[in-house]
Subunit: 227 residues, 2 copies
């Protein structure tokens, strides 16, 4: 048998599938190897441990994905055409578009979205490290298109952005319930992008909390300034 690494890829594909479907902790190596029709011990042989398998599943897709995100940002800057909307789309577009391919891509995106709220310290550490270059590249770019925003405020809002992105990527059941008006399955990711980019751009551009409290009649009725 043993032709190159057919087994290795079958394990990765099946693991990606089941991890996204049922979660990391709830998916056993026995389920993976049984579905992949390989031997149970093959996982430990090729990946050392279940943790190693998880990291391999993530790395296989994450690296080209982040390369594409940075490539898009590079292109924006090369064109001297960096807008907030373009920046957001360069960041959240590639993962959402990857979910368009009916195969492993969509599974991986859901897995990636859930990663943000999984309970596994090694996972958080791994993702943080895997995304370090990405974050270091995008953070200054956001700072540049939102120069009036204080550093702290910008970082909070970028976290809110990540919250939306991971929630959308996780593709919650509630979300799918809502998608009663889905016409074409192929265009769905682009439709989400079309809807979410203006939402996030407006949120990032929102007036500062302090300014807002003074300038408008938001929150509760302010006793002073009856205009």
């Amino acid at each position: 048998m043993a032709e190159a690494s057919d087994t290795k890829d079958r394990i990765l594909d099946t693991a990606e599938h089941l991890f996204a479907e049922r979660g990391l902790g709830q998916t056993s190596l026995r389920q993976i190897t049984s579905h992949a029709e390989v031997n149970l011990a093959a996982v430990n042989y090729h990946f050392g441990s279940k943790e190693g398998l998880i990291k391999a599943v993530l790395a296989r897709r994450l690296e080209p994905l982040n390369r594409e995100r940075i490539r898009r940002l590079d292109r924006l800057e090369r064109q001297g055409h960096v807008t907030l909307e373009g920046l957001i789309e360069a960041f959240i577009g590639p993962p959402l578009e990857l979910s368009r391919d009916g195969g492993g891509g969509s599974r991986f995106v859901r897995l990636m979205g859930r990663t943000y709220t999984e309970h596994a310290s090694f996972l958080h550490e791994h993702m943080r490290h895997a995304n370090e270059a990405l974050v270091n590249r995008f953070k200054p770019a956001f700072r540049a298109v939102l120069p009036e925003l204080p550093k702290t405020e910008l970082y909070w809002r970028l976290h809110f952005l990540v919250g939306v992105m991971s929630y959308v990527m996780a593709g919650n059941d509630m979300m799918q319930l809502l998608a009663a008006s889905r016409n074409s399955e192929q265009e769905e990711p682009r439709e989400i992008i079309r809807r979410v980019v203006p939402f996030l751009a407006a949120g990032l551009r929102a007036p500062l909390p302090e300014e807002l409290a003074q300038a408008r009649d938001v929150l509760e009725a302010s006793p002073r300034d009856p205009a």
Copy 2:
């Protein structure tokens, strides 16, 4: 022994603690009963099963929490003073403020945030049912303050809002890393509310995707219309 239901409460408190800390699937009944210093079988005696315990942990806090959210919305409407910002704060304020109490409250909020992305179909069903009245109460209110927004678009944006809320509630590690500038721990939840409400309000008020694509030079440079 047997004084009322001391055991029952100790199980609930400890379970809430550990569920939030390590996740539902990763927390065993043996860990819970051992920390709570009660017998292992007590969980199945009082709650029937682990699933029953999880539901009890959630229900204990969720019901008063949602009652408070609806109470705030009632008050806004009674005062005839329903703003978008007020609506958002009535919805996301109570859970975030609950996280202020250093005790079980903060643990529960994190647990609740993670619930949205946990892998357990019974959980999603339970949460959906537990939040049904809440959603039915708030949805029309949001519709009323955003009358120009198409129904579908509003629902998408409310999902984005839930994404931000659950992400903030889950209190991701990344988020805590960022909180290097935390001065007072007590005011932190209110500070998050202060920051997130303008973000969400601006996102909900954002111009429609179609309008935006026509009116501005967003996304990529459109070949036509060289203005």
